[in-house]
Point group: C3
Chain length 383, copies 3
């Protein structure tokens, strides 16, 4: 008889962080991806993951990942367990080259979104791309195809510590709700996404991956009162949403290119599109254009008994709406980060970075721009 | 030394759904058991279960089941992990014929409530019976007795894919809080429940189960303002609760009968009782009578390499209060469903059904009746 | 190749409770540590724990403990999964005498706070000490040192059923946020804690442990309106917080002493300090002094086939602010408890106690004092 623990495996990782503003608009710093940055902060559990996974049967692969660093909206207490992934990969051939992924999973758009936070160098993803998809995920159905030898290459790029994305297919196509992971669907429209990517291996072993992707749908954003100063004192005005019944057009096209770090690595992405955005007068939310991306360089240095080090530098830019925050404020980002990820052992990773922020506080009206240099530190343990 | 993974086992299942209203009062469809049905919906994770269970010691059996498709009240983000079951079976004899079950577990009332959603044919339980018990469960203490050979029969009815309920005893008796699973107790009164059921096996192997059950207690319902149109415009009026201090009388008696599908199956239940209900004028919540149930037929068809199929048809009726929704609105249900559960493999099940609804929107005042035909699809994966 | 289930282990425990007020101010009983006590209560799941732990690598020990009896603030539905512990022990030597613990874990202050609720005799910890630290835990970094033979002794005190605390070092020092487990940090200040304890073993095998500990930081409390009766009727007044920008001084020093039950056991702690407290007029929250502790005696009686019994008696006293409740009300406690913990088997424990309460309702203004005798019962199952 078969044992349950051979069908279902468990692993995970946890990240704790702290950040210190060393110069700039100290009191104004509100960085939406990480609440350990800004005034009146210290330690934060950024992610606390348990992953249950395995080949349950020949044609069913399970992936079930709650995160225990999540807070229900409206609650002042946090660190509750909430799904990130809950999907089944159903394969239609022996080599599992053709798969359908059902449930909540990552939307196949971009390279960085696909790459696990367990493996990413910078502490957070770049806004330019990441604003496409709340928590990178949604509920839907996704088709993936990749030849067996490329599936193996995707696997090796992670297993050999080359900062791969995992296997999201050479070709991907999917439909999903479109309001973001763990959110209630708010229209009858479904989002569609398609992606092509290919990791080409040169005869010297170097691997270069490039691809293109696009998504399209309708997004229902939310609005709320903004305090606006008038000659008669402050008044609360709620911006008017100028959108059809099924919500704002939400569409993007992106390109990505990755030279894997053997030892020098280079990674870049850019996307262009349209989505909801608060206008300059902060009275209307309208369908607006957006664009952004990043360029990142790294070097994989094997320090022997001292572990492995990945010094890195990254520049990111974004100009467009922050669709999943209230009022879809305009988000303007021009950030530079440099730092190092030190893999002390296989189980312990320390990342320190200097993050030069020039960005918008998208969480609080009137959505001020701020500049600040922040020293950020993360310890991650893998299990 | 003993291994932890021999004492504690893990399994689970996940369901994703979508529903499409094909005719009827499209905009009015609000179906309380399933938010993938109705306007502005698409995919939904209906259940995402992890089950930790096992014989921890000779006389202690553990069952611990969180569901990761739950939403805290008041939160706009979902898919949090919340208990369904957390109980210990303490047995008093070697054959475990006498057991006490402590913690949160299913209230032994009805057949369909006992049967796991992993095994049920229709996507949701019938309102007539299911309105007895929020999430079928509560915190309490339950006594179960069944002879060893009947325990084995209950087990086989599930193991042999005959859509059994599992072993809730030939005789059951229990006390529990009464406000529903994961709810705070609101009075000093405890509910009581008793149940007798017996799965009789004929000499030709056919198994017929029948039983009777009853519950009694006091239920504290909640009220809130209902907008009522008057000559002077709409006004909000909160219905007055006409109940003693410990809450409304809440009592039911039911009968159930099941012919297990070898290959033709038939299943029926009905219950009668009293409980809180909003009156016709929607000004008072009073102690009122209720009754309802269902009849269901199926056929187990083994399609060889194509898997196993269970075509089914079900009619359900209910007239009575919806006690665990605000204002305990009157719920009138007269639904017909037909469809098929296709067990593609042991791990993958696809259910499609045509659900002809004639029922009340019990979630939104003024609690309109609506009619609609809804095509509903579910994929379930077992692990 | 190594198996995941040898690196990560799973265990846990669940507690259900009920309480009955047998005399005193029956309607006034509100006991903040346990909602199974008081009017309109019956059964409660007090704790439902899953613990994932193990030596992931030679120098990394994992401890990950969600509790599935938690309620997000503001939600009326409970039993959600929320972190208690999520930490990594990183050791710097082969014997693991020097460790740093990162993540959310217990603050090394007091003996009773360190001891697991799985092993404690009384159903709840004493307010005098426990008010130092919401849920005993916080996010931070803690250094622990203990010689290998003392580490073994700490382990044996638990393994041999002597009600030990586990190994929190002979010497401990740490920094942490200071607002409590699963709470958002609200100032730039970090709390500091230090602790020394030593379990001395006499030649006759008796073990006596004593120690001293202190903590210091700034705590940001919250305030809200209190209804105050005036000649013109009730008015809502919100107390004014008299505190510097970074919050109230929050500091304590404590001593503890434990004679382990072989078979007679004695345990005592006391602490003195300062913290926020609502003043007598209930108009101001100010920096005030506090003190409190407890004395507890027990006897370990081995009843052979009937299991093991620990009759116990405990007196506790506290006078000081309840800093983590709104308005930091003054809490005055003078309670006497006696009862017995009956370990029926290794997996099943039954505790019954008679709790003579003389304490403050710290959850509801105007924060009345009440007296009541409560019979309390708990069943715990270990897995």
């Amino acid at each position: 008889d078969e044992h349950w623990y051979d069908r279902i495996h468990m692993r995970g990782y946890t990240q704790i962080r702290t950040g210190s503003t060393v110069s700039g608009d100290n009191k104004e710093v509100v960085y939406w991806p990480d609440k350990s940055v800004g005034d009146n902060t210290n330690f934060l559990i950024r992610r606390a993951r348990l992953i249950f996974y395995g080949d349950v049967t020949d044609n069913l692969y399970l992936y079930f990942q709650p995160d225990f660093a999540s807070t229900p909206s409206g609650s002042t207490t946090g660190n509750f367990g909430q799904l990130r992934d809950a999907y089944a990969d159903i394969s239609f051939d022996d080599k599992k080259e053709f798969r359908v992924r059902l449930g909540q999973s990552k939307i196949p758009f971009s390279f960085e979104n696909m790459q696990s936070s367990q493996n990413r160098l910078t502490l957070d993803r770049a806004d330019g791309i990441n604003t496409c998809c709340r928590d990178e995920r949604d509920i839907g159905a996704f088709f993936y195809w990749a030849p067996a030898e490329i599936r193996e290459r995707f696997r090796d790029l992670v297993a050999n510590n080359l900062k791969g994305s995992g296997d999201y297919g050479v070709f991907a196509f999917g439909v999903y709700n479109g309001q973001g992971a763990n959110r209630v669907e708010l229209n009858n429209d479904m989002h569609m996404v398609a992606r092509v990517t290919y990791p080409y291996q040169f005869s010297n072993g170097q691997i270069f991956e490039a691809g293109v992707e696009g998504l399209h749908g309708r997004f229902v954003t939310s609005n709320g009162p903004i305090s606006i100063v008038t000659p008669n004192g402050p008044v609360n005005i709620t911006p008017v949403m100028v959108a059809p019944a099924q919500g704002f057009v939400d569409e993007r096209v992106a390109v990505h290119a990755v030279l894997y770090p053997q030892p020098f690595g280079l990674q870049a992405e850019w996307n262009w599109g349209r989505g909801p955005q608060l206008n300059a007068a902060q009275r209307l939310i309208t369908d607006s254009s957006l664009n952004g991306g990043y360029v990142q360089a790294t070097y994989k240095y094997d320090a022997g008994a001292w572990g492995i080090m990945f010094p890195f530098v990254k520049w990111q830019y974004y100009e467009g709406g922050q669709k999943f925050e209230r009022n879809a404020p305009r988000n303007l980002v021009n950030d530079l980060e440099f730092g190092v990820e030190w893999q002390v052992t296989k189980a312990i990773e320390l990342t320190a970075e200097y993050h030069m922020m020039n960005r918008t506080d998208v969480l609080n009206a009137p959505y001020n721009q701020f500049r600040a240099d922040v020293v950020r530190v993360q310890v991650q343990w893998n299990y």
